[in-house]
Each structure stands twice: as structure tokens, then as C-alpha cells.
């Protein structure tokens, strides 16, 4: 499917699946016979953006491969809420091995399929930020540098939510977690820590790296489709708000994602072979408060003494806007 830019007013919302479009250009989810790869019976929380993102990612990948898809999943919320024995919410062939090894298991599957002459069957690995940027980083990096034919998708909810909301190296500064409590002189996660997995992936100069959010599901779908049209190691980083861990309303997962993008906090980008090739511009600039204030994990930023932290967030957004030219030259 080619990319068609549809004015927002024409579709009403990006989430309706594009029913005003020609059949071939509609979203996978708009079809009655959609794959429903992550189907009924899972136990995700209300408002779980990871479940939403995983469904879109998987359905798009299944459609893009004509059903020839095998999935390796890291330990984490996604695995726990979808496969409590004897039930499984997954339709594609799916394996969970361990927390840190989804990328390596995917390499094993891809190697096996190649040895069997089944290069028509594709491999997707997925995990949360803990399984990707922390404990699984070595395996992810190894898969990248070998350029194994795997799409790795990280659903980033910025912490260890499965174990009760502890800090990961994807937890942003100031965020309150169970191991970075909002007490003392420097409440929340420390300033100046954490890492950009998108930049790390780009540094491996793999064929395709992209970031996306659940606020723009057609964009997410497009990136999965793009990735599945490419051979070699590919990486997709999806911001997925977690109402439990972020202390937000379950109805706010989409709007928080949108605020993260429109404030400049979460750049939505595409890169090929280590070079940035596309950046989603800010459409209507939002203040960082729009993103931060609805989240209880940042509540201390809006109490006396929180001004300094808030300023740092503004500086982060400004830095991103400059670095990625998120305003496209606009002031």
C-alpha cells in the first residue's frame, strides 16, 4: 500500500481505520476479516496501550506476510497477560522463552527457517523496554550487528510495570516509580540518566529504525508494513502509555501519546542505515505540561519545588525540537 496523507478533518479520527478510503488503502483493522492476531481473552489492564499497539503491529505484520509470521516474545506484561496456561490470546505461532533473549530466540528461528529454505516465513520479536533497553540489550545488539532478518518491536512503557512499576533505563527523569520514589530532595528518577534506544539502534546502521505511538495508528501500521518489506535487522520503538505505571486515566493513553509527540518529548522518526530519513513534524505544538500533568508519576513537578524539574522537561522538548527539527523550520 502506498502512503496516502489524509487530512485529519476528512477522516474525523485516525483511529476509525479509514473507512472513507478505497478498500485497499484502509487500515488492516477496518476489515471484517482482520487477522486479530492478539485476540479475545487476554488480561491486559484497561487502557493498556501495549495491547493496542501489539494488536496493530501484529495484524499488520501478519497481513504484510500473508500469514507467514512467527513471533518471539520477551517476558513482560505482554507475555503474562496473553498466555496464562492453558489459554493463549495469540493466533500466530508464538514463543516465549525468557526476559532477556527474545532477540536471540528470533535469530534462532530466522536461522532455522533459512536453513530449511523457508525464507518466505518472517520473524518478529517483541518485548517491553526492560527486556529491550536493559536486560535484553546485548541480545538485541547482537541481532542488529549480525543483521539477522528480524523485526524487533519494543513497546516502551518506561518502566518495569509487570513487576510493579520499577525504574528501567527507559524511565524518564523525575518519574516516580517504586524504586525512584517521589520523596527526598530529588524526587523521582534521577536527572541525566537513561538512554535512547532509537539512537542506539541507528548506531548499528541496520536497514530500518523507526519510532511510533498509539496516537497515530496508521503511522504505526505504515512503519510495520515498511519494515516487513525490508530484509535484515529492523527496529521499531513504540511509546505505550501504561495507566497503572504512569498514574493516568485509562481513557488517556491515546491523548498522552499525542501530547508526547506534539510537545517534542517523543520524536517520531524513521531512519535507514543509520541515517535519519523522516521526522513527524509537530502539527499543533503542545506544552510539556499537557503530557506531564495528567500523570500521577510526575505530580511532584507541580508542587512547590517542582519548578526546576519542569524546566528540565521544557529544555528536553526544546532540545528534541532542535535536534530533529520537529517544527520544520516554523518558530
Amino acid at each position: 500500500m502506498s502512503t496516502v496523507h489524509i487530512p485529519f478533518l476528512q477522516t474525523g479520527t485516525l483511529a476509525v481505520g479509514g473507512r472513507l478510503l478505497d478498500d485497499a488503502e484502509r487500515s488492516v483493522q477496518s476489515h471484517a476479516d482482520r487477522p486479530s492476531s492478539l485476540t479475545k481473552g487476554h488480561r491486559a489492564c484497561q487502557g493498556c496501550a501495549e495491547a493496542l499497539a501489539a494488536r496493530w503491529v501484529m495484524d499488520t505484520a501478519v497481513e504484510a506476510t500473508d500469514g507467514r509470521l512467527v513471533v518471539a516474545n520477551a517476558t513482560g506484561c505482554l507475555e503474562v497477560f496473553s498466555t496464562l496456561y492453558p489459554e493463549s490470546a495469540w493466533k500466530p505461532p508464538w514463543i516465549h522463552s525468557l526476559f532477556a533473549n527474545a532477540a536471540a530466540v528470533a535469530t534462532g528461528i530466522a536461522s532455522s527457517l533459512h536453513a530449511q529454505g523457508r525464507d518466505d516465513v518472517r520473524v518478529l520479536a517483541q518485548g517491553g523496554d526492560g527486556g529491550t533497553v536493559d536486560i535484553g540489550l546485548a541480545a538485541v545488539s547482537g541481532m542488529f550487528e549480525r543483521n539477522d532478518d528480524v523485526l524487533y518491536v519494543c513497546y516502551d512503557n518506561q518502566g518495569y510495570m509487570n513487576t510493579g512499576v520499577q525504574r528501567s533505563s527507559a524511565t524518564p527523569a523525575s518519574a516516580r516509580t517504586a524504586t525512584t520514589p517521589a520523596v527526598g530532595r530529588h524526587p523521582g528518577a534521577p536527572q541525566g540518566t537513561g538512554k535512547s534506544m532509537v539512537k542506539i539502534a541507528m548506531a548499528h546502521e541496520i536497514p530500518y529504525v523507526a519510532s511510533a505511538t498509539v496516537a497515530d495508528l496508521r503511522d504505526l501500521e505504515h512503519k510495520v508494513r515498511t519494515a516487513m518489506a525490508i530484509r535484515g535487522a529492523r527496529y521499531l520503538h513504540v511509546l505505550v502509555p501504561c495507566p497503572l505505571g504512569w498514574g493516568s486515566q485509562s481513557s488517556e493513553s491515546i491523548s498522552l501519546s499525542r501530547a508526547a509527540v506534539q510537545s517534542g518529548i517523543f520524536p517520531v522518526v524513521e531512519a535507514r542505515a543509520g541515517e535519519l530519513t523522516d521526522v513527524q513534524r509537530i502539527r499543533e505544538r503542545a506544552d510539556v505540561e499537557e503530557y506531564l500533568r495528567p500523570q500521577a508519576r510526575f505530580a511532584h513537578l507541580f508542587k512547590p519545588g517542582g519548578e526546576d524539574g519542569l524546566q528540565r522537561w521544557r529544555a528536553l522538548a526544546e532540545a528534541n525540537i532542535r535536534h530533529y527539527d520537529l517544527l520544520g523550520g516554523r518558530p
Binding site: 498466555t83 508464538w94 533473549n101 536461522s111 532455522s112
Partner: protein
């Protein structure tokens, strides 16, 4: 054809002839020669229809093997020591998921202090991981065991470690006869996974099991493990018939006088002192005990072929009426004694046996015939304590004699 080969080369060639679909490699001494040899064969095409993957850690070596096995390929890797412990989580995982991966463990000590030489503490640390553990007494058996390991593992849906003493076997050159490609093709059935990631029949592998089903899952794994003893025996017997030599088996028996391996050797008798051992020290014991038998001393040798599942019944049968046992043990359970001794003791519970644990060869200390002879003589004279450290040097670490240490500097 009998030929002169390094143990690692022999293993690599035999593994290649088992036609693995995916081979993972991460370097650690002393297993490196095996995966190096396989990498050459992967490049020359001698190892065909096989993906050779250089991974970034042992943890990923086992993880890639898990993915490959689950996707329907015969998967192989090799490791040792710290590498085995680094992949420990994935080792348990492979067994829990019933993936019949075969892995060579070139047995090596576990640090600290760091030590690259042989003992059995690495594999012993994984004794409850749910893998078969088959031990090679010499390089001929090390090579042959891989054929049996693939066959037994795949029939059972249980992964298998082939344990061979690091350096002592992996780097030693011996006269060997390798199973040929034609022989292995005729012997080893093609890999037909019981479960696979198949787009035609999608399944979910590796689900979470709660308190309501975890015990039952483990119980079923236990029952399968009980089947393993019979399956290992059956494949070893088939191997003996097909290849005309003994390899594998649960317990190795030895002729009382020639000390040659002989499955039909009689069990030990009431007056015999039985020496139980595992791995390459069996060869040194053969050489040590034969002259002692010639002197008329009542000594018998019993080798442990399969450490997991532990062959209680086969061991008791081989020990016969002997109630005086010396276990030569290459791993130490701190505060207790030899690890193998613990298993032997459990097997012989309520038999009234006197069991001596002789801890020997830790971290590559050569096990000398003279020292073994002395330990056996002391046991016969009732002068051997329940736990003895062979060649333990009181008062520090003195200068060793030439040849008795690995490297003289």
C-alpha cells in the same frame, strides 16, 4: 577407518555428520576447537543446510538454539564453565520447553579463582536443569556419544549435554574411528519435532503456568525423565549393534582383570572394593587397577555414563554385592564432599555400604596413577577417610614436580 585425531576435531566432525540445522558459537576455553572446526566445515560446505551463527554470549548461544529448535531445526552448541553458568537460565528454559538441543560441555572448573582447566563443577551446577548429562570416558566415546545424544534427546524431547573433560580430552590426540556419514544417516532418524512454530498449525510455546498447573507440569517432566534411562540404554544398545563398539549407556562395566569395557562383565562381589568414577579418569583408573588386579587385590571399576538421569538401578546392579565403594569425584559440594558421591550415596541408601569420597583433579590438577593406587590401597587397608582430597598439599602450594603441573614456568 582408524585415524589420529584431536578430541575436539572428532566431536566436530561427528556433530557435522549428525546434520544440525543451526550451530551457535561463542568462544570459551576449552570448547573452542569444536566450534572452530564446525565453522570451517560450514564454510567449506562439509556442513550443509546449516546456519552457523556467531553470537554475542553463551546466553544468546542457548537462546538462539532454543529458537532454532522450536522452529524445527536440529540445534547444537558447545560451552564450558563460566559460559555454562552464564547461559544457566536458558539451559533450564530449553528443558522446560522440551527442546532436544544437544550441547557439548568441555568440562572446566568454575571460578573464583578463575581457572580454565578441567573439573566437573560446571555441569554439576546444572545437574537439576532437566538435561540429560552423558559423560565421555575417552575421545572415542566423546564423539560417539553425540550420535546417541541426538537420538535419545529427540525421542524424549529432552535436551542433552555431552560432557567431555576439558583439555584432558578436548585437546588430546588419540587413535579414533569416527562414525561415517553413511553410518550416521542410517542410524539417526531425521529431526521430527514434537512441537514446532508452524504457520500451518500455529501453537503458543512457553506460556505461563500458575500454581494450579506448575506442579503437574514438573511432574510430567519428571515422568519423562524416568523414561530417559530406558531410552538412553536402548539407543546405546542400538549403537553397539550398529557400530560394533560400546558407547553411552547408563553405567559402564569393566572386565575384572583386563579392565576392558565389557557390558557383560559380572557385577562386583561382596569382597570387592568398587571404584566408581566418571569422565576421563576412568581411563587412568583402568591403567591403575589392572596391575593391582594382577597382584590379586579385590578391586573393581564401575563407570558412570549417564549422570542425569542418575542410573540408580544400573549402578546397584553393577556394584552387585560390594558394600565398599570409593567414588573418585571431580566436583566438590562445599562442606559435604564429592558431588557424584552424593548421588551414589542416595542410590545406595539402606544398603549398609561404606562410601569414600575421593575429590580429585579439581581445576586441572592431574590425577596420577600413583595417587589413585595409594587411595585404593588405603581404602583396602581401611585407612581411607570418608572424604579425601587426592594429593592435597598441606602447608600451602609448593613447587610441583615437572610434568605434574600443566605448565612449568
Amino acid at each position: 577407518m582408524r585415524e589420529v585425531l584431536e578430541g575436539s576435531q572428532a566431536v566436530a566432525r561427528t556433530v557435522a555428520r549428525c546434520r544440525p540445522g543451526v550451530v551457535c558459537a561463542y568462544p570459551i576455553s576449552p570448547q573452542t576447537h569444536i566450534v572452530e572446526a564446525l565453522s570451517v566445515m560450514a564454510r567449506t560446505g562439509e556442513l550443509s543446510a546449516c546456519e552457523y551463527v556467531n553470537v554475542e554470549s553463551e546466553f544468546s548461544a542457548m537462546s538462539v538454539s532454543i529458537g532454532a529448535s522450536a522452529a524445527g531445526s536440529r540445534a547444537y552448541t558447545a560451552t564450558a564453565s563460566q559460559g555454562l553458568l552464564y547461559m544457566a537460565e536458558a539451559v533450564y528454559n530449553a528443558a522446560g520447553m522440551g527442546l532436544p538441543i544437544v550441547m557439548t560441555v568441555a568440562n572446566r572448573a568454575v571460578g573464583a579463582p578463575i581457572n580454565i582447566w578441567n573439573d566437573h563443577s560446571d555441569a554439576m551446577a546444572m545437574r537439576d536443569a532437566g538435561w540429560l548429562q552423558l559423560y565421555a570416558a575417552d575421545n572415542q566415546e566423546a564423539a560417539d556419544l553425540h550420535v546417541i545424544a541426538f537420538a535419545a534427546a529427540e525421542e524424549l524431547g529432552i535436551p542433552a549435554m555431552v560432557c567431555m573433560d576439558g583439555f584432558v580430552l578436548t585437546h588430546a590426540t588419540d587413535v579414533l574411528e569416527l562414525a561415517t556419514q553413511e553410518q550416521i544417516d542410517a542410524f539417526l532418524p531425521p529431526y521430527s519435532p514434537a512441537q514446532a512454530l508452524d504457520i500451518e498449525n500455529p501453537s503458543t510455546i512457553g506460556t505461563m503456568a500458575g500454581p494450579e498447573s506448575f506442579t503437574e507440569t514438573k511432574y510430567l517432566q519428571h515422568l519423562r525423565f524416568l523414561d530417559a534411562a530406558g531410552v538412553i540404554e536402548a539407543w546405546s544398545e542400538r549403537f553397539r549393534k550398529a557400530f560394533g563398539r560400546e558407547a553411552g549407556g547408563l553405567v559402564a562395566r569393566y572386565d575384572p582383570d583386563t579392565l576392558d569395557r565389557d557390558g557383560d562383565a559380572p557385577p562386583a562381589s561382596a569382597e570387592d572394593l568398587a571404584v566408581v568414577a566418571m569422565g576421563s579418569v576412568v581411563g587412568t583408573l583402568q591403567a591403575t587397577l589392572a596391575p593391582m588386579r594382577a597382584e590379586g587385590l579385590p578391586v573393581r571399576l564401575v563407570g558412570i555414563g549417564a549422570y542425569r538421569p542418575f542410573p540408580r538401578e544400573a549402578l546397584k546392579a553393577a556394584l552387585g554385592d560390594s558394600r565398599h565403594i570409593v567414588v573418585v569425584d571431580r566436583a566438590l559440594e562445599l562442606g559435604a564432599g564429592g558431588v557424584l558421591t552424593g548421588d551414589v550415596g542416595r542410590a545406595l541408601a539402606h544398603t549398609g555400604s561404606r562410601i569414600h569420597s575421593v575429590v580429585a583433579g579439581l581445576g586441572g590438577r592431574p590425577i596420577l596413577e600413583a595417587s589413585l593406587r595409594d587411595a585404593v590401597r588405603r581404602a583396602l587397608a581401611d585407612e581411607l577417610p570418608a572424604l579425601d582430597f587426592l594429593d592435597l598439599k598441606a602447608g600451602g602450594v609448593p613447587e610441583p614436580p615437572v610434568g605434574a603441573t600443566e605448565v612449568a614456568r
